[in-house]
Amino acid sequence: MEGTRTTLPVSRERADAILTRELSRRRTEGYVLIQGEPLADGADAPADPRADRIVGYLHTPASAPPDWPLSRIIHRAGMLRIAAAAPLLAGMVPASEGMDRVVLAWALARLANPGTAGALRRLASPGQPDTVRRFATAGLLAIPGERDGVRAAMLDELPAGVSRALLAEDGPQLAIAVGRWLEGDAPERPLLMVDLALLDLPCARPLVVLWLREVPLAPPFWRAVRRIFKLAVMRDDADLVGIVTARIERTNAQPGTAHQSVWLPGRGSVNIREEAQRASSAVGYTAGTRAWFRSHAWRVLRRRGSTGQAAYVDLAMAVLRELSGGADHSVPSIVGHILLGESPAHAPPLPRRRWHGANLSSVPPGVRTERYPALWDDRPDALLALALGGHAGPSMSVGCRALMGRADLAEHVDVHAILELLTGDPEPRALAVVAARAGWDPDQPNQPLLLALAGCLDPDARAMAVGWIRDALRLLLAEPGFFARLLLSPAPDARALAVELWPTLATIPGAEDAFVHALLAELGALPADGDEGVHGDAAVLLHNGLAARMRGWDLDALAALLSAPSVGVQRLGSVLLMRHERPAEGFPEPLLAAWITAADPIVRAGGVRVFGQLPDAVLLGRFSVLLALAAAPAGEVRDAAKGPIARLAACNPDFANSMLHAVLRVLCLPEEAVGVHGDLRRLAETALAQALSALDDQAVLRLLTAQTAVAVDLGAARLPTVDSAALSAIDIAVLAGHDRAHVRSTALAWVDHHAVRIAADTAALLKLIDGEWPEARAAGARLLCEVCPAVDRTPELLVAVCDSPRPAVQALGRQLIVDLFSSAHGPVLLARLAEHPSGDMQRFVSGLLVGHATDKPDRIASLAPFFASVLSAVGRGRVARARVFAFLDAEALKREDVAELVLPWLERVSGTIAIGDRAQAIASIARIRRRWGLASSVVTVLPPESRGGRRAL
């Protein structure tokens, strides 16, 4: 690793600490130690009596305690990586079998000793169990001399696409090839991921990591996940162990697998143990499996920790990192073991339960709660990572407590870490203050550290920072930018200090300009969601202390504030620009355009005010801009636009007229924002009042028929100015049916005034008669009955009245027909009214049948739809139906051609369930058949049944 983390040379101890921290950081970012290089914790501890004891057990297994079977001795030798045990283990290979052989392979792979390569090759040879081969292969891959050969052999056995991509080190292509391979149905296909994990090539590792994060923990994938986990444990691969542990912790077991048997779709209840032995098993990640893996994960860590292996910290960090983000206050079991294992206030929960107490408030200050604190003390970088947050459970508190008491704190917590800690919770902030105090040097004041301390939430830290600033004032006065940033500090006391020191700074030649430059730059960089008060002190200083200076300041620098993320800064920029000494016409066009289109309405309003100060000649050429401003969604902008429009309208009638019509057009469109139409109406009635008073009648009618309420209101307000004599009869009739009562009453007054003209217009008259509103209909009826000449009340007009869907209007039409009836009109009325769908009209028409259809077969035929409609009516039209039955019966008995016409109609209706109608229809059919001898397809007359009556005496 190259690069530097210090600007000046530091002591050897400090450099080692930094290197350790950087190595840890790289590990957390996903880097891994290249296999074969010396391990950080050393391969062996020669002086370790425990190692000697285990070697002794290996020599003489009988000397081991009774609860130490051979497999346990082998396992412990491998776990502790006891190099002296390697030849002994290799020697055991030929005679081993069963589980001992698996453990031997595991231990030898973990040792990765070149001297045991032969034994490993033997264990990796074909014919050995899969598990043994896999561990042995992993061991060979860890031995530099063997690695290339084994890797080449493995690549040969992989699918062609996968192996090609691995050889080419092409990550994307590898992902495609693996994806295609995994699409297959065979349950063995996911085992490819085990091979990739085994190979552990840099181009394949991201893919393995991603797969482990996403893959469902269920068959057929679970088997591969399990194998990868065991491989990772053997290698102390913290990342993979952490990922799988977190997945298992967060993923429920397969449903229904908590018992000995499980119910499977299509197969019913099956024994879990038997099912798990099948190659294509439908269960794998059972409740028991999950429970075992959860406890096993802690067992793995505990073994590392209890034997003092440094790998414990890496594994624990990976687990804590992967399990971060839990929302509740309970912590997973393994996290509790890691962080609360030594806590005097917490006790381990029952199996499968979670630890409670995500904070350590019940633990006295300074008491360490984590398991194996000595191992953690060796890794201050890991403790700092915990203190910085982002890990599961109370890790932040644990990290802070562990670091707080260290004498070498300043060496492990640099300025960047302090700045980061200051943004956190109280505990990290307190740690940051202690670290800052430990590392403070008044001769080399660190400005970012001072600013961060001065702006932090801790009042003691802020007071300390103020004191330090005063102590180092001589050095800091040479940096005006520091005071600009101090003036924008989130803490009010820090800003007050900056204001207090400003007179001192201002006495230094050139400092004022540098200060303003820096302040404007800092203002422009303030975030959008910052505290409003942050720039308040700066605004006061710029408006008061520096007002004269700012009136002549560079326009571009001020304009840059308009595009600042913070709205408050934009508004400050707008005010500074409005107070600028340059006149409106001197502002650049792009600046004005950006200003009046700013997102903030108050800023926009400022721009509009400056825009309105442009000369009249210029503004007249910007008609569309003025209209857009007058109809802007923001009320402030509309208000600001009123002044210039009123000024122009007062001295330019053509402009006023054009603006009025444009405003009326906008009023007829849907309102873009609440209040726009109201403001535009006020604008029309005030600034454009003169043009409005001269509005023509058609424009008023357009307003009245508009879809927007304000336009209609304005039209209604202008209605009295309309000359009704100039309106057409149909226009008046339309207004008489208007939704607004005021408009209707005005129009109905006009109807009375122009009664003759409207009565002579059939369309207008019908519009009134069939209007929506009762008063309009009454006026129409009055015109029809009283004003309309009798000669104009033709049958067509009366039928048109009857055609209305309103029953009351139909009744009026029927009444007029009765009043004005002439037998000459009978056939027309009969033919036309017979098509009316209303029951009342059908009854009325049925009364005309006898008078105007008797003995007229053609007319009867043309009335077929009417008869069908009356006879098919369901549960209504009794009177009309009776008349129709009687009429048809009478006419059919008179003429045979009519009978042939009528018979199908009666036959159709004879199927009704209504007894009376069916009886009438059947009786008519029977009479018609008797009279004319016609055949009927639906009615057959049967002779009465003879039951052997008494013989006449």
Binding site: N252, G256, P670, D803, P837, V874, T912
Partner: protein, 559 residues
């Protein structure tokens, strides 16, 4: 779901002494679609449009009594009673009692004053709603009808507000005296009560021109005030109901050719009687003499002039009996009786949609009725109408749609022959497109038609199920998750008991189904039921139990 329409102008009708014109304003956001024609068969056309309007405004859902005023009063009263109790606990201190009494008196005064003050408002509100109900039921219209122009016909489609009735009014060009320029496609049309009134004025002695106005597509500017934006927030259940009924149209079922007077008789019995208790179904007997039992009146209407043309259930077996609910929705067909020559009825099965196609001679009216009027959680059926019935990949579905759209309508076998793929695949693709609202099945001519119900693709995952519980229930039934099921009938109520597989353990569920196959009550040992009872509908296990029972019952009826 939010939908936006943009109409140019308004749909309007003009009726003069000798001619009338009906002009629809189409949605200009959609593909340009227009039509002009002179209607020849005007009275059937009028009656068809009237029936369509009746479906658009129909809402037969029971209206719940407004109890908000009572509940507010009750809340106040509870407070008082609680205060009274507390006062009693304080050894009935005279001062507190008097204070309670005084407060109660004051509250009564205020309540009476409030009632007096609210009375004109409540009266006006009631009058307004009554007026609206009598005069402008169109104000309840949810979505404007959809009009589709095809090379052989123009048709309107709509779905009722109560999410239970679908109507399609097809106007073959043989019913027009003259057909002008047309552009095929589908669009929403602006629809209003005024327009329905104008339809009522159609007569044979007036030339009638029907237009789907192309003008809106020719106006380019957006700032024209003639353009109207209409934004509608449609309930998901409404869209799902529409799609479900559409998807059911090409399912097999019992097909009856019914004489208009037989339908008349059904309507006559329903109109002349009012039921006060369940069951409220029409029970069709399809074997032996064709007849219908009208429950609960005990009246049997023989369908003497009707015949069964086909009888294949969804499971491929002939059905003996089919029950249909929501029968009062058939009243919209009443106006068609005088002008129709026959009514073709398709019954898919008990509790499933039914379709009634009235032949008006060149015109046809299809009424599709969902299984029940109220498609709430108490009625979830056993058959998932939105389930895919065959695997089809996206490219194949697109190819089938493109082929269909090239000619606008075609039977499945013609598409299969044209594309050279299996008919079953084509039918599965067409069903998938039907479920997505892009294709519809024309029951009268038995062809598929390209008709994109909405301009934008629908979120089918969101629409598939009415609730997460229903989705889980369907999955449970599909995976044979109902481990045991016992059913017994007591006083016309079926009691179902069974065990249903949960994620980790089995749950004991119980449901009671009444004579109308409505879920009366239910219980379950799962946590969803323990937390919510039935306030959020039944849990997945109860639903699964009911679905399994329904499937079993249908299988036994069929056999």
């Amino acid at each position: 779901m939010h939908f936006e329409h943009r109409y140019f102008g308004r749909t309007h009708g003009e009726t003069g002494p000798v001619r009338s014109a009906l002009c629809f304003a189409p949605d200009t956001r959609r593909v340009p679609t227009h039509f002009t024609g002179l209607v020849d068969r005007r009275l059937p056309f009028r009656e068809g449009m009237a029936a369509l309007h009746a479906v658009v405004v129909s809402d037969l859902r029971p209206v719940q009594k407004d109890r908000s005023a009572y509940l507010a009063w009750r809340a106040d009263q509870d407070g008082l009673e609680l205060a009274s109790l507390l006062a009693g606990a304080k050894l009935q201190r005279a001062g507190l009692q008097a204070e309670v009494k005084r407060l109660r008196h004051r509250l009564n005064e205020v309540s009476e004053g409030l009632q007096v003050a609210r009375k004109p408002y409540l009266k006006a509100r009631q009058e307004y709603y009554s007026w609206l109900y009598r005069n402008d039921r169109g104000a309840w219209i949810v979505l404007d009808p959809v009009v589709t122009v095809h090379p052989d016909q123009l048709f309107f489609e709509c779905f009722s507000q109560d999410e239970s009735s679908y109507a399609r009014f097809g106007c073959g060009y043989e019913a027009f005296a003259e057909v002008g320029e047309l552009a095929c496609g589908t669009t929403n049309v602006d629809y209003s009560r005024k327009l329905a009134s104008e339809f009522e004025k159609l007569r044979t002695y007036r030339d009638t021109r029907l237009t789907v106005d192309p003008t809106g597509f020719e106006v380019a500017t957006d700032s024209d005030d003639a353009h109207r934006e209409v934004k509608i927030d449609l309930p998901d259940s409404w869209v799902r109901g529409f799609l479900q009924v559409g998807a059911a149209m090409n399912l097999p079922g019992a097909r009856l050719r019914m004489h208009p007077m037989d339908l008349h008789n059904l309507l006559f019995v329903l109109k002349s009687r009012r039921e006060t208790h369940g069951p409220r179904s029409l029970r069709f007997h399809l074997t032996g003499a064709l007849r219908v039992d009208i429950e609960p009146f005990g009246i049997t209407v023989p369908l003497a002039r009707s015949i069964v043309r086909d009888n294949v259930g969804i499971d491929g077996k002939a059905m003996r009996e089919v029950r249909v609910w929501g029968r009062r929705r058939l009243a919209v067909l009443e106006r068609l009786l005088p002008v129709c020559s026959r009514v073709d009825v398709t019954l898919l099965g008990t509790g499933l949609p039914s379709f009634w196609v009235a032949d008006l001679g060149g015109l046809d009216f299809t009424l599709g009725l969902s299984g029940w009027t109220a498609n709430d959680w108490s009625r979830h059926g056993a058959f998932d109408l939105m389930a895919p019935r065959g695997e089809v990949d996206a490219p194949t579905a697109l190819a089938v749609f493109a082929c269909l759209k090239s000619g606008w309508f075609a039977p499945a076998e013609a598409i299969a022959a044209k594309l050279g793929i299996a008919r079953a695949t084509v039918e599965a693709a067409l069903l998938q497109l039907t479920q997505a609202g892009r294709v519809m099945f024309d029951l009268s001519r038995r062809v598929f038609r390209a008709r994109e119900l909405f301009a934008d693709p629908l979120p089918m995952d969101q629409l598939r199920y009415a609730s997460p519980q229903e989705a889980s229930a369907r999955a449970l039934v599909a995976a044979n998750g109902v481990l045991s099921l016992q059913s017994s009938e007591v006083d016309g109520v079926w009691v179902l008991r069974g065990e249903v597989q949960g994620p980790r353990t089995q749950f004991r569920s119980e449901a009671r189904i009444d004579g109308d196959e409505r879920l009366q009550s239910a219980r379950c040992s799962c946590s969803f039921y323990r937390h919510n009872k039935l306030f959020k509908g039944p849990c997945a296990h109860v639903l699964a139990l009911r679905m399994a029972w329904q499937a079993r019952a249908q299988a036994s009826v069929a056999s």
